[in-house]
């Protein structure tokens, strides 16, 4: 976390790298100006870590921890948290309840470690009363969770960090750049000479860096949902780690991974997540959105 960001010169651009949000993060800058690159890298690193500190559910003394430890008491939140909660609420509405930031407590019984450790139905049913955004009282700026409920902004936070950092960079720099926070990307403009950035889309079944495709990205966001290594296998049935908050069970026949390109990283992230939640109809859902996508 505290390790300093690293800046290296590549052919025609600067590559800055650091770790944040439990992922390797990168900033590629199509400029030769080193002091500028250093400044922008520091900016990106600071913003990514700020957002991580503020919204990670694994850290203490941040708004998310405060909300989750409210134990039925109302909690007043700051503007930025309120904006994210409003956004989560909208996504929940738009997805007709499929995208739900309260579904994280289901992980108490679901552990996707590749084993056959599928929980008993009673155990899942026992958790369900603590899942459901409609059970939360959210009247900006006050949020009240029922005791035992938790929110998790992990499904939004990284994409939000990418878009926010891109905005900060854009204020100081008008050239081409690519942000990559652990696979969630945003391109602020092409490389020198107008060439798009080449992004490799991982094969979800591969353990290494074997790539199934190269995506060209000049402007806009790209995000991937799905994780090949997180699943359960029992009696020949593969359980994906995408849980349906209304049933508490994995969405059947969900794709192993979905990659979407959209105007912002947040949109790409939401569309890919919602596609996964559509299970076997993921492809149909994405086709209706008229976006570029890769469904595996």
């Amino acid at each position: 976390m505290t390790d300093a960001p690293l800046l290296t010169r590549e052919s025609g651009y600067w590559r800055g790298s650091f770790r944040a949000m439990a992922s390797p993060c990168e900033l590629l800058l199509a400029t030769g100006d080193r002091p500028l690159a250093e400044r922008l890298l520091l900016l990106a690193c600071t913003e990514a870590r700020r957002i991580e500190r503020k919204f990670s559910r694994y850290l203490r003394d941040n708004p998310v921890h405060l909300i989750n430890s409210g134990d039925g008491r109302p909690i007043t939140v700051d503007d930025e948290t309120a904006n994210l909660l409003d956004f989560a609420h909208r996504c929940w509405e738009i997805s007709e309840g499929k995208f739900d930031i309260t579904s994280g407590v289901l992980r108490e019984v679901w552990c996707f470690d590749g084993s056959d450790n599928v929980p008993r139905p009673e155990a899942v049913a026992a958790i369900l009363p603590r899942v459901g955004w409609h059970k939360v009282s959210w009247r900006r700026p006050v949020i009240t969770l029922r005791p035992g409920m938790e929110i998790d902004l992990g499904g939004i936070g990284k994409e939000y960090a990418v878009d926010q950092t891109a905005r900060l960079i854009r204020r100081e720099y008008s050239g081409g750049a690519l942000l990559n926070f652990g696979g969630d990307l945003y391109a602020l403009g092409p490389r020198a000479g107008g060439e798009p950035w080449a992004v490799g889309v991982d094969d979800p079944d591969a353990t290494g860096s074997c790539q199934t495709g190269i995506v060209n990205l000049s402007r806009g966001g790209l995000a991937t949902s799905g994780d090949a290594r997180r699943y359960l296998l029992k009696d020949g049935v593969r359980y994906s780690h995408i849980l349906d908050p209304t049933t508490g069970w994995p969405v059947p026949d969900a794709p192993r991974a979905v990659t979407v390109i959209a105007d912002t990283c947040l949109e790409a992230g939401m569309l890919s997540t919602m596609a996964m939640l559509h299970g076997s109809r993921a492809r149909e859902f994405l086709e209706a959105q008229k976006v570029s996508f890769w469904c595996q």
């Binding site: 409003d86 909208r90 009240t144 912002t264 947040l266 919602m274």
Partner: protein, 403 residues
């Protein structure tokens, strides 16, 4: 499958553009809604009313509501007497003493003016996610009327908050008197004792009220509610200024102060439906059936159609229709020799029809919302001395939220 992309784009845009202004405004902790109302009848009463209501959030579970109203009433109102009156005088609220100020020698209209100051205090307490309790207290003071009231209401949502049940009770205690201090003897003759009729002390009126209501979500574009309410009034229910003429062959012989029963039981069924049309207009339809043990029953239909325009502006035409039967003891005048226990010539107890046609306009302004409405009220009465009443209603309101 439907596309959600544009909705998502709007939500994302909202989030990211807000993020730019980190030190943006905190959500308001109080709102104020202030109105000016002009109610103006042709040649009769004019009311100027100024009122404001403030909602303050106290902590996370309490909402305090404070309402203040100040109004002035001037003009002339029907007394109940016939126009072709004789040399009789009654007191008026304005004069402070006795001596009836007839309008241009017409005893059927009395000039008056009065001011009223009213305060309502409310507290909404959220006990649980689905349970709220509302406490209310009110006081209103005029030169010739004082009213105190208290209320308590419980609101309970079902688990998915599609249905809300309401149960409420209220009590009131009013004191009524002429501005000179007393109340005339009911059915007392105005010209008794050489124009010094018998007066009693102030009248007292007690009210007890109960209400049961249910509101529910019908579908994605419709909500509805249904209320039943019962109110019992006891005590002095007479209007100390109203009189009734005894007439023979078109000539007024005597004039009495009116007299009403000392209890009244009012009941009402109220239904309201709000529906959003496919074209984004909103319609609001309310109906009330009312009946009481004075013999009045009435139907009220109130229809509003809100046309949403660009930029948060809207236009809302409105039509309200009302019809009522007359009270059992309503007489336009008393025939010679008939002196019933209860008699009133108050036009409000007559069989009547009212129609209100209006237009409201709303728009965002100065960081709040501005509403203007103009309405025309037309009333016809079956037998009362003045058989019509017409009025213009203008209201300007401004609501704003503060930090």
């Amino acid at each position: 499958m439907k596309s959600i992309r544009s909705k998502l784009a709007i939500a994302t845009c909202t989030l990211l553009s807000q993020g730019a202004q980190q030190a943006g405004a905190v959500e308001s902790s109080w709102t104020a809604d202030t109105s000016y109302l002009l109610y103006s009848e042709t040649d009769r009463v004019t009311v100027n009313k100024l009122f404001t209501s403030a909602n303050v959030t106290l902590g996370d579970n309490h909402l305090l509501q404070l309402e203040a109203v100040y109004d002035t009433i001037t003009g002339a109102t029907p007394t109940g007497a016939v126009k072709s009156g004789g040399p009789v005088t009654v007191t008026t609220p304005s004069s402070g003493g006795k001596g009836y100020r007839a309008v241009s020698g017409n005893p059927a209209l009395a000039k008056f003016d009065d001011t009223r100051l009213g305060l309502n205090l409310g507290l909404v307490q959220s006990l649980r996610r689905t349970l709220r309790i509302n406490y209310g207290a009110s006081v209103s003071v005029e030169r010739d009327y004082e009213a105190y009231g208290g209320s308590l209401a419980l609101e309970r949502d079902n688990e998915d908050r599609s249905v809300t049940f309401t149960a409420g009770v209220a009590g009131s205690y009013d004191t009524i008197f002429q501005s000179s201090g007393g109340t005339p003897k009911p059915m007392g003759s105005v010209e008794e004792n050489g124009g010094n009729p018998e007066f009693f002390g102030p009248g007292k009126k007690r009210g007890f009220e109960g209400m049961l209501g249910v509101s529910r979500i019908i579908n994605r574009r419709t909500v509805a509610r249904l209320n039943y309410s019962l109110k019992r009034l006891e005590g002095y229910l007479t209007d100390p200024y109203k009189v009734i003429s005894m007439v023979r062959e078109g000539i007024e012989l005597r004039r009495f102060y009116e007299s009403r029963p000392d209890s009244r039981q009012r009941q009402a069924l109220y239904g309201e439906l709000v529906h959003r049309l496919e074209n984004r207009d909103t319609i609001r339809l309310a109906y009330r059936y009312y009946w009481d043990d004075w013999g009045i029953f009435s139907h009220t239909i109130d229809y509003r159609h809100r046309r949403n325009l660009l930029g948060g502006r809207y236009l809302e035409p409105r039509l309200r229709l009302y019809t009522q039967s007359s009270a059992d003891f309503f007489y336009p005048s008393l025939p010679f020799g008939v002196e019933p226990e209860y008699a009133s010539a108050d036009y409000r107890l007559d069989q009547m029809n009212s129609a209100t046609l209006g237009l409201k306009y709303g728009q965002p302004a100065l960081g709040g919302t501005l509403r203007l409405r103009l309405e025309y009220l037309y009333q016809t009465f079956a037998e009362a001395e003045y058989d019509t009443n017409q009025a213009l209603i203008f209201q300007a309101s401004f609501k704003k939220e503060f930090d």
